[in-house]
Amino acid sequence: MAKFDFAIAIGGAAGQGIATPGNILARICARRGLQFFSYNSYQSIIRGGHIFLTTRISTEPVTSHGDKIDLLFCLNQDTMDRHLQHVAPGGTAIFNSDTIKPGEASEGLQLCPMPVKELSNNNRNKLVQNTVALAGVLHLLGLEFKLLEDILTLQFKRKGQAVVDENVDVARAAYEYSVENFVPYSTPLPQKDKPLAQVGGNEALAMGGAAAGVNFYCAYPMSPSTGVLHWMAENANDLGIMVRQVEDEIGVINMVIGAAHAGCRAMCATSGGGFALMTEAVGSAGMMEIPMVAINVQRAGPSTGVPTKTEQGDLWQMLGASQGDFPKIIVAVTGILDCFNTIPELFNLVDKFQCPGLVITDLSVSEGYATVDPDDINWEQPIDRGELIAEPDNDGEKYLRYRFTESGISPRAVPGTPGHLHVVATDEHDEDGGLISDEFTNPHIRRAMVEKRQRKMESVVSLIDPPELEGPENAEVTLIGWGTSKGVIEEAAGILTRDGIPTNQLAIKWIVPLHVDEILQALSTAKRTIIVESNYTGQFARYLRGETGFDADGHIRKYDGEPFMPHHIVDGVKEQVAGKTDLYVPYQEIVV
């Protein structure tokens, strides 16, 4: 079977109920075993404002919302006006012809006006146009009406048979109208064997937390990370997770630190501004050597910025979180399934090395939805708490919380354990936790304690997977990305390779520690290297050069709030290969 690759975009105003047809279509696809990725472009406004939901469907894995629209589902005139130009040749636009004037369609594009009033018997419910259009879409995709009938029945069951009938009747009329008037796509929506689950990025982070054994989660709401809180709150009682909304992000992280010290696996998530407020405490966890995890879901900054838009602009904030030097682990997740898998791995690391773990991701993944094979979700993750003394022992030796050890790791005891009384302190301290600053000063112990802490970092890098070149071996171009851009870069590299510019990718996931040797090794034979990232100043490029000395040949950067589409990268590479520039900033065509 040829690769099926089809994108449906639904546009309308906030409050027009875009979510419902979007969900229904997604569910149909997932149940048929089709993969999809969806990106919702919206504004920070509760009602009104423009929403544009793109769902790209394929028989193969999908990791970005792609470059084109095959089916435009217009709920208002705005959508028609803004987006008709983006529909690919052979595509279709479907709309309520009572209220929406069609735009000028380019060659080979099918316009499907639906007379909603007529088809719905003058039904005045504003949402009826969604049902009508959905029926049309089903026909266009070569799907039977029965599918929609079942879904509507399920959906309206609670409201009684009359409502069910009314909706099914409208849908049937609309379906029949479509059959008569519109030409379906030549390839109908394929069917595969195994139904898939649809998972959002924030959900995946939360689920990863649950699988890691997180039993303490707290947060202060902040877009685009709030989905983690909502999932945790919803599942709190079933899973035995303490979930708290706290007065602010400072309270959040300090509560997490308290719970972590007392023996919980504790986590929190926020976005850039909230993370700024957490930084002081990140350092305190470093100093007290308390393992915990904080997630920063980036949005477009600086400051309040654009709360519903994406960016990779907080890297330096994460690197510079809190004053002084102390061990911390920073990981940039690369996709939705990776969100799930990374959290348990990170918890094992922070428990082993007794330090804070920071996760960096962004709206493009956290609010995206994708299909995942349920078998790829392993709930029974290995849990390794490191050198944690939870039970009393009787070795007779005096317990020293910060004992100088070769590895830098000192066995940790949780409060409540007999025989291991100690104080953990944010002041510099000696092996027993005694304050260096207040009781006495000793530069020699101070130095030894700094070195003990930093020594821990030396072995972290050996436990995590180094990045590897993916794609053709002798590539003309090597794209370097970090975190969430992995999927879209992968796709761009594929397109470039097909277009005659063999391109591979080095996707960096672990930021601190960085695999300096492996990265330099991987890049040593690269012919042309281009760093792709979503920010203005090249935060990753500068960090990479600082840590490795490596200087890329070119850069592709985007900072308009919308995520990369594959062709943005493809175009940028081509311009650079042609010698036109070494810094390409794509133009965002789809204006939301």
Partner: protein, 298 residues
């Protein structure tokens, strides 16, 4: 640091004495507070490892280093947030938060308000010396108008907060004030605060003999009275508020307000209903739980 002395059946105040000698100025009010807490812990009768003392930063916040319990010496102003985390993670522990007026009512003021309305089961001891001690003597949120300090050399212009009144109207279920010059009385308040299931504030007049020349031991010895002597009923909310506003020639100490009707946060939280402390539970999700979650996503 605290040590691991073997403990007899019934711990005495001595068992709570830490190994490190306090570095407070000789004569500092905080000595009396430490002593009172040792007495209160002994009276409550739990073993040292069953207590966690959590503080912020300040002279007063050094206390966890001097008492023989588990301790956390956290960030300036954050003791209550950290202590809440500890308590919810292991609600079988007795959690005591300690700190200064700057730590608790200044930078930590927001956690103070919200921890009270949540009725988290903690004893919170504030060594209120009406000054910033550790930073060598600046104005504090409880300094009186007109007080001259290094940061207000011409006298403070800002009205002080009234922590007791705030506590009473914000949902603290146990609100008391003690004086470090009366260790026995103070220890009794602390003991009752720990016994109380819910948020217990014990604000303590604990003079800074080095930087505060206004609110001295002599000053408090002259002005401090006891609510018990005045026959105050701590369940009388209105009277509690009124007493909390009293200042001047007579400044009341004792138990202002006591409400046993509200559940503490850990008591109300369904997740803690059964299964013991979170910190002791098995971690992770079972395959069945996982399957149920995935089912909803398909």
């Amino acid at each position: 640091m605290a040590s691991d002395k073997p403990i007899k059946a019934a711990p005495t105040a001595k068992d709570f004495k830490g190994d490190v000698a306090p570095d407070w100025c000789p004569g500092c009010g905080d000595f009396g507070v430490l002593r009172a807490l040792e007495l209160a812990c002994a009276k409550l009768g739990r073993e040292p490892h069953e207590y966690v003392t959590v503080s912020g930063i300040g002279c007063s916040s050094n206390l966890p280093g001097y008492i023989n319990t588990y301790g956390m010496h956290t960030l300036h102003g954050r003791a209550l947030a950290v202590a809440t985390g500890v308590k919810l993670a292991n609600h079988e522990l007795t959690v005591v938060a300690t700190g200064g007026d700057g730590d608790g009512y200044g930078i930590g003021g927001n956690h103070f308000v919200h921890t009270m309305r949540r009725n988290v089961d903690l004893l919170y001891i504030v060594m209120n010396n009406q000054i910033y001690g550790l930073t060598t003597g600046q104005v504090s949120p409880t300094s009186r108008i007109g007080m001259k300090t290094k940061s207000t050399p011409f006298g403070s212009l800002e009205g002080p907060v009234n922590p007791l009144a705030m506590a009473i109207v914000t949902g603290a279920s146990f609100v008391a004030r003690g004086f470090s010059g009366d260790t026995k009385h103070l220890a009794e308040l602390m003991y009752r605060g720990m016994e109380h299931k819910g948020f217990a504030l014990v604000d303590v007049f604990s003079p800074c003999i080095t930087y505060n020349k206004d609110n001295t031991f002599a000053f408090f010895k002259q002005t401090v009275t006891k609510l018990e002597d005045a026959g105050h009923d701590p369940t009388d909310w209105k009277a509690a508020v009124e007493h909390s506003m009293q200042w001047g020639d007579e400044i009341p100490t004792g138990l202002f307000y006591h409400d046993t009707s509200r559940p503490s946060l850990d008591g109300a939280e369904p997740v803690l209903g059964e299964g013991g402390p979170l910190a002791h539970r098995k971690l992770g999700v079972t395959a069945e739980q996982g399957a149920a979650i995935i089912k909803k996503m398909m």
